[in-house]
């Protein structure tokens, strides 16, 4: 074992910032990360053993114990649950002999839950050994497992024609990409990258930043910070070394628009990174790709290679001796929080993905302490397009406070789930009509971290930064859906994904989840609703990062727009005790002890036997 691990370490030049890559390789080798491998890593990287575990135990996909030769990760989103998740899970457990969260006795199969894997338009879906299977049914699951039992690998089953794994045909075979409404900004295939980059490089970096500022482009990852401003801050920070990072850690449940961009417009995304590098003065870039999208890695590597061969990436781009820039792909390992830009930086450095204390901001001290701009995949693609069409063109799209357009990943109760490009200003009702929503009732805008709105009350609201902000996720629920159960699942999601570094998020979300459970169980009273509101507010306002700042939203926004659902569950307090307090259960211990004492007392006293 030692030899294999040593060769992995050597390949990464014992660079501890590449710890995630090394852990991945070890896990691919042994199907988990054995203790012995950690000992070797610790020795070679000058880290304590526990320090390595600190990182490895943070990420969902790393296993410290044998977890099965074939590991199934079934996406457990609310959308999957609307489409047969439960039956698929039962079929999986039955066919493999493994119960959820563990492996079967022979160690062949491991069945695990995982948060959204970016396939809400084709759920239920699961990852197996670096490939993905979608639109699962009981039959399909049984067939897959039978094939695995016959000795075929997951890769062979998913790719029977053995298409080259770097080809678009391979990617298209694994997942469907439904682009239902494209343009004017995204998925326009006419770009001449060579000409566009040449044109960008004739402008000095400040002029490029000015164009992005004038276009009024705001980050499309969700936070909506001005992209031009981010770049300007980064450019102004004096440093020889700077970095550009593409954030492809699309983890918000319900979104899959970055996946669509990476599949259909990868060069737009990479060109955006190259333009950013020119603007801020960076020579190195990283695309942080979520582990759930591992099946895109080779395809993306090939796209990068094509850019290098065309002289658009690498040393002396387009023959300019003053501009060299290259991009590498960093795989994540399963942590929603790494979508936060500073947590992503920590993860890129081979550590736990805990959000940093700000300031300093990444533009000042980012990756490896150097000025870094972190931009979402969609933002980068928008940059490419706006550089092509001009700032005025982009700024002219949308309306006063919200320029341009954004991609929305639509899922749930509608006829045509898929990707829709929405120009800011469109109303919710208009979009619902486009997607063929079927009796829409509640709409989860921006995933769990966003807001849940009632179509009745909010249908005429318009998408924009001053009204219905959207980070790219839109889930549609009709009246047959159990909204409180959905709220509970979202709270469970935040509890699972909280990094735990700050008190309100680590402790508070568990309390909120328990309250919701109490209300769903029909044991809540008005005081529980009041607590939800005030506790939610405390967590929202005191948490360290965006996760905690938004985690109470499923509760707070449904309390605002679907209050009657909660009211219908409440019961009145009787006397001074809360309805959730079970007097009998609380006194059970005493009662048992009392009975025991009575029994002992009633027995005839025994003589001590010598």
């Amino acid at each position: 074992m030692n030899k294999k691990v040593l060769s992995i370490v050597k390949r990464y030049q014992a660079d501890k910032t590449r710890l995630l890559d090394m852990l991945w390789e070890i896990q691919r080798q042994y199907d988990y990360i054995p203790h012995g491998a950690i000992l070797t890593l610790a020795d070679e990287l000058n880290l304590s053993v526990n320090d390595i575990r600190e990182t490895s135990s943070f990420y969902h996909f790393f296993h410290m114990r044998p977890a099965g030769k074939h590991r199934f990760y079934l996406s457990n989103t609310v959308i999957a649950r609307m489409n047969g998740y439960q039956q698929v899970l039962m079929a999986l457990e039955q066919a493999t002999g493994a119960t959820l969260g563990s492996m079967d006795v022979s160690g062949t199969f491991g069945v695990y839950d995982t948060a959204c894997i970016g396939l809400s338009d084709q759920e239920p879906a699961m990852l197996i050994d670096d490939v993905v299977f979608t639109r699962l049914t009981v039959d399909k699951v049984q067939w897959i497992i039978a094939q695995l039992q016959q000795g075929y690998s997951a890769a062979e089953i998913a790719n029977p024609q053995q298409l080259p794994t770097h080809s678009i045909a391979y990617v298209d075979q694994l997942v469907e990409t439904h682009i239902c409404q494209a343009g004017p900004v995204f998925f326009q295939q006419e770009t001449d990258y060579h000409r566009l980059l040449q044109q960008c490089l004739t402008h000095d970096p400040d002029a490029v930043i000015k164009t992005v500022l004038n276009a009024r482009l705001q980050g499309l990852g969700g936070a909506g910070f001005s992209t031009g401003e981010k770049w300007r801050l980064c450019r102004e920070t004096a440093s020889q070394t700077k970095y550009v990072i593409g954030n492809a850690d699309e983890g918000e449940p319900g979104t899959y628009k970055d996946r669509a961009l990476l599949i259909r417009s990868p060069k737009e995304v990479f060109l955006g990174m190259i333009i950013a590098a020119w603007a801020i003065g960076a020579a190195q870039g990283i695309l942080y790709l979520r582990a759930e999208y591992i099946y895109l890695k080779q395809f993306l590597e090939t796209e990068l290679q094509q850019l290098r061969e065309a002289g658009l990436l690498g040393r002396h781009i387009l023959g300019r001796e003053d501009f060299s820039f290259d991009i590498r792909i960093q795989m994540g390992a399963g942590a929603y929080i790494c979508g936060d830009e500073s947590a992503l930086l920590e993860s890129c450095e081979g550590k736990r993905g805990t959000p940093r204390v700000k300031p300093p901001f990444p533009a000042q001290q980012g990756y490896l302490g150097m000025p870094t701009t972190v931009n979402n995949v969609e933002t980068l693609a928008a940059v490419t397009r706006l550089m092509e069409k001009g700032a005025a063109w982009y700024a002219g799209l949308g309306f006063a406070t919200s320029a341009g357009s954004r991609l929305v990943s639509v899922s749930g109760d509608c006829a045509r789930p898929g990707i829709y490009e929405v120009e800011w200003g469109l109303t919710l009702n208009q979009l619902l009509e486009q997607v063929g929503a079927v009796e829409p009732w509640a709409i989860q805008v921006s995933g769990p971290s966003g807001e849940c709105v009632a179509v009745e009350l909010s249908g005429e609201r318009r998408f924009g930064y001053d009204d219905l902000v959207c980070n790219g996720s839109l889930m549609i629920f009709n009246r047959s859906r159990d909204l409180l159960d959905i709220v509970h699942q979202f709270m469970q999601f935040f509890v699972t994904e909280s990094c735990g570094i700050c008190t309100p998020c680590r402790v508070g979300n568990v309390e909120l989840r328990q309250k919701i459970e109490r209300i769903i169980a029909g044991k809540g009273c008005q005081q529980d609703l009041d607590d939800l509101l005030s506790w939610g507010e405390i967590i929202r306002r005191t948490s360290r990062c965006g996760l905690g700042a938004t985690s109470p939203n499923p509760i707070l926004t449904t309390l605002a727009q679907f209050n009657q659902l909660y009211q219908a569950k409440l019961i009145a307090s009787q006397g001074t005790l809360l309805p959730s307090f079970d007097v009998k259960a609380a006194l059970q211990g005493h009662e048992q002890a009392r009975i025991k004492v009575m029994q002992i007392e009633s027995e005839p006293s025994k003589e001590v036997v010598k």
Binding site: N46, L47, S48, V49, N50, D51, R53, E54, S57, F58, A335, R352, V357, K358, P359, V495, T496, E497, S498, C499, G500, I501, C502, T503, P504, R506, V507, G508, V510, E511, Q514, D531, W535, I538, R541, T542, S543, R544
Partner: protein
Amino acid sequence: MSIQITLDGRPVSTQAGANLVDVAAEHGVYIPTLCYLKGKPCLGTCRICSVSVNGRIAAACTVSVSDGMIVAVDEPALADMRKALIEMLFIEGNHNCPSCEKSGRCDLQAVGYDVGMLVPRFPYRFTPHQREVGAERIWLERDRCIFCQRCVDYIHDQHSGQKIFTIKGRGSNARIEIDKTLADQMSAEQVREAAELCPVGCIIEKGVGFNRPIGERKFEIKSVRQRALEDDV
């Protein structure tokens, strides 16, 4: 550079870039803290120093003051927010002060008294935690860990620079770990430093328990508030 900020409605002159917790203390306004340690890199984990800065809630330990900043500390809603965070820590762990070696010199207990905490608004969890007693001179009482990360960030092996204390897992499953080999190589001073850095009774130095009688301990002689205001931490 000398600047002016507004602290609870009062104009206050101070130096730009100074830490808000220190600036407030210098001007007689106590902000409770647990993870913050003057002069050490800011951790920003416990959040019990949450105050209002220009109308937004921020952890004071993460704030460097700048000219014109408007800071509110002593407002009932803000005080309640801080109290709630302290209560969260009390219900998350198992904190039985009367039986704890750290009583009287425990920051968590001291700030609990300071904010007037009686019964937490959150239900006690009574989660069992396994204690770690394997190291020669240190024992970890995990019931009391508040994940401040002081030991994780400030205590390193003196030869290799490696971490001795680490966090395993994430979220509500996180737990503090100690590298026993490295711990056994710590100097006597470093062991003491680790135990004293710990704001609760989680890192305990073996063999010196109850070396100072109850009633004569740090916060029993002078309150945490008084100490902070007199810069006598």
